[in-house]
Symmetry: C2
Subunit: 204 residues, 2 copies
């Protein structure tokens, strides 16, 4: 099986666990996945929680990506108006095998236009804000994640871990995912319909 | 309530989720917790998953810490011999209110000598390796986390999130923790005795 390159997009105010939950899973499988962090410019990027990660690449020098992951976080409030980033997302999504989002990262994919006509989900506390950015998207209120083929979107923050394990299972087999979850001592929610938070946040 | 400063120790080969799972929780509470990343030198530090985070401080210029968090990861194999780091950990642990570890980070606390006579737990897949570094520690095989007063140690990787929520509940009240877990859409394991992975890894 050829190694896939996963690019994770960083922007000021990205949500820490949206990025590093999935990366714990993908990053534990060298040979299957190579992970790169990409931002408008390479170098340090401050998270919503203020601590900083380092973008390996800028948008202009980012290698070809097989998989793309777009996190959420308070920074999405500005990035939904960032035409440079949205255009880059649309171009990279077109050539990727699988495009994923965690939390309010779905708002960026929606504004990039790539979710139109697709089923998708997002953070439950900020559901309506995200949905308003994608009037032609079939938003699913209760779902841990939604797999619509090329696009796999997940609910808020920690849901990204379950979604990542699903994408690993889909691309590399269920046993690989189960081994990763076990090594993380993580109780994987394998049912994409499991979503108590849709009720907690009053969506259903 | 005065803001507490939480210092998280980085070293080459730290485990991503050991750091950023707890930081997602603590980092969402500005005014209650200020989070700083600290390493031998300030600047970028590569994780076990290769992507990099930025240490805000070196050991020498790190501010006073109320809380200390020591992650695990493959890098602990070298750091258990790093006298500079271990001596720093012993000094900072002495003046801290609460000292925590995730995963094999407990091996560093054990080698720093601060867990002697204490109850503690660690990663289940590498349990014996860690235990060998602390012959005078009362190692608990089955526990999501162990709260022994000043020292709160957790099991592998994702267990750090549950432990962090426990420490937030202990210092700021249960309601604060529950709000954080809800915002993370995270199903908090509130029972420190919940540990299916002790059996999975053949410890019980």
């Amino acid at each position: 099986m050829a190694e896939r390159t996963l690019g994770v997009v960083l922007f000021p105010g990205f949500e820490l666990l949206d990025v590093f939950g999935p990366l714990e899973a993908f990053g534990g499988l060298p040979g299957l996945f190579r992970v790169v962090l990409v931002a408008e410019q390479s170098g340090p990027v401050a998270s919503a929680q203020r601590v900083r990660a380092v973008a390996d690449h800028g948008l202009a020098d980012c290698p070809r990506l097989d998989l793309l992951l777009v996190p959420g976080g308070i920074g999405t409030r500005e990035e939904v108006e960032n035409r440079t980033l949205l255009d880059w997302l649309a171009r990279r999504a077109a050539e990727a095998e699988i495009v994923t989002s965690v939390c309010t990262g779905a708002a960026l994919l929606a504004r990039a236009g790539v979710l139109d006509g697709r089923r998708a989900t997002t953070n439950k506390a900020f559901f309506q804000w995200v949905a308003d950015h994608g009037p032609h998207v079939a938003w699913i209120k209760a779902a841990r994640w939604v797999d619509d083929g090329k696009f796999v979107t997940s609910s808020g923050v920690s849901a990204g871990i379950d979604m990542a394990l699903h994408v690993i299972a889909r691309t590399c087999g269920r046993e690989v995912s189960e081994n990763v979850a076990r090594a993380m001592e993580y109780e994987w929610h394998t049912d994409s319909d499991w979503d108590p938070f849709a009720k907690v946040w009053g969506l259903v």
